[in-house]
Amino acid sequence: MFDFIYKGIIRDKKRSLLPIIVVTIGVFVVVFSDGIIGGMINNMISMTANFQTGHVKVMTRAYAKQENEKPIDLSILNAGELINQLKKDYPIVDWTPRIMFGGLLDIPDQKGETKAQGPVSGISVDFLTTGSNELKRLGIKKAIIDGTPINRPGQILVSVDFAEKYNVKPGDIVTFFGSTMYGSMTFSNFTIAGIVRFGNSMLDRGAIMIDISDARLLLDMDNAAAEIVGFLPEGKYNNEKAEEIKKSFNDKWTNNKDEYAPIMTQLMDQEMMSATLGYAKRMSLIMIVLLIIALAIVLWNAGILGGIRRYNEFGIRLAMGEEKKHIFNSLMIESLIIGIIGSILGTTLGFMACLILSRHGIDYSAVMRNVSLMMDPVIRTTITPRMLYSGTIPGIISILVGTALAGQAIYKRNTAMLFKELD
């Protein structure tokens, strides 16, 4: 019987072509969307981790409580020793100190008088220590649109919008005004090494970057760090591993009640991050459910049209003694075969499209210019094993639902009219 059904599908293009095309397109959309959404999530995770949170992050408890305000007066004082201990305890993690700070950047004219001033948020990372991965991790080389990365002390990187607004360029001298971690006023001159487009409106508006050694001098933070961020091997976030490290570290400090004792957080502890990921997952699920409904409606209609076209065939089969239930089941088997064929085609096409986009990416920086999310403006799809079934399941379910709805007509068929209908 299977052979009979299979031959019908292969030979009768009208029976199989439209449903296969519909399922293929539907499955392609699911697989491709899955890749895109996965890529966007990974992109967001990666950007947030690289610029803000690390995969894990160590701060003082006091700093952690007010983390949004970046209170450098609550920084870790003996950061060097703590980093050495972290490297010893968790050698797979790449540990690095960072300081976030705020202040004013003064732009002098040719006579050295203030031409303009603008508020800036500063990011200081370890650019200059041999073996530091920060330059690569933050993608500074790619982000620089004019000039060079920081390659010696006393240099500064300025964000593109700020540079355009205040008309500064590489080689210009600018003066930073701010306060040290002890509350004293501080200022220092820097030479602009490069202009950076971060691809994120928040950073592009007024971010500056300096080397952490300069920040320590500037902010009177010798051997201190506001945050020590850690990155898992190959820069890939692993929630379980991060949680394991966090738990292990925090357990050691549980009995220490000092508010300046260190505490570790992980990427997913960020309220916005977990909420965004939850939202993305819900959106994926909603999209898949909607797609199943839409495909089922299309396939239901295709099934009704097919049923009308095959009215004669079903009549003959009923007359020959085939039960209605058997005909219905054979239609379901047909649909299953068509669903599998469509799913394989759709998954293959979706997979190939994702593969191409994972290598070349889509540049949507123009769209993201005004978005305050930490996201790479070039989105790349993510290839995951989930793609093998993420489209297949809705593809097969939708055609089975569509066929089951259309197949109800078989049960309404009046066998008493068969002779008349068939003649």
């Binding site: 009979f4 019908g8 004669n312 089969r317 003694g321 002779f419």
Partner: protein
């Protein structure tokens, strides 16, 4: 019950609802058909021939009275039992052949045996034997669209006969055929009737068919007007 009576119909009436009223298609039908008969229901359109074939074929049920087909009272059969009766014991031949166009001649004939879950070897043997009866073994791989009308109806006969049914019901089998082909298929059916003792029941108003019938039951306005053996 006489064992060689394959069909016994007693005081059968069939009504079809028409709005709030009904139309009486068959009234007080009484007849018996024995195994191996070559019988025809003859009469003008609307006389009830096809309705009677429907009931004998277990495709419909009488409104009142009984129709016992091969020992089964069709009014008491459920859909599954009706389907089984048709599948195992009744073959159908239609005016419009009704072959499945996407399947070959062989596959069209084979289908009834698939429903009976016969083995591949059994199916092959039975299909080839059946095609041999109608002289179409050389066309076994052809599609119905490649056949003439006469050939198509011969395939339909092979399809009806392949399962060795006790009864074959043929509704106007020659209506779409020219005289030569009509005689050809009727000769084939008459020969199968003789060789296999299969009961053939026709619904027809074609004179050519009537020439071959051994027994003619004339229907008029849903009643048996006459019944005679030739």
């Amino acid at each position: 019950m006489n064992t060689n009576k394959v069909i016994t119909i007693s005081q059968l009436t069939k009504d079809f609802p028409v709005g709030e009223s009904y139309f009486r298609a068959l009234e007080n039908i009484n007849l018996e058909i024995e195994e191996g008969e070559f019988t025809g229901f003859v009469g003008p359109s609307g006389s009830g021939k096809t309705t009677l074939l429907n009931i004998i074929g277990s495709l419909d049920k009488p409104t009142s009275g009984t129709a016992v087909i091969l020992g089964n009272d069709v009014s008491k059969l459920n859909t599954k039992e009706s389907a089984a009766l048709r599948n195992l014991h009744i073959g159908f031949i239609f005016q419009s052949y009704n072959l499945l166009p996407i399947y070959t001649v062989f596959e069209n004939v084979e289908f009834a045996l698939l429903l009976q879950k016969k083995s591949k070897e059994e199916r092959y043997k039975a299909v080839m034997e059946s095609l041999e009866w109608v002289g179409l073994t050389d066309k076994k791989d052809s599609r119905p669209t490649q056949l003439s009308g006469g050939e198509s109806q011969r395939v339909a006969i092979a399809r009806a006969m392949v399962k060795h049914p006790t009864i074959v019901l043929a509704d106007e089998p020659s209506a779409n055929l020219d005289a030569e082909n009509s005689h050809h298929i009727l000769q084939t059916m008459a020969q199968l009737n003789k060789e296999l003792n299969t009961t053939f029941i026709f619904a027809t108003h074609d004179e050519k068919v009537m020439q071959y019938l051994q027994k003619i039951i004339t229907l008029k306005d849903g009643r048996i007007e006459s019944e005679y053996n030739k």
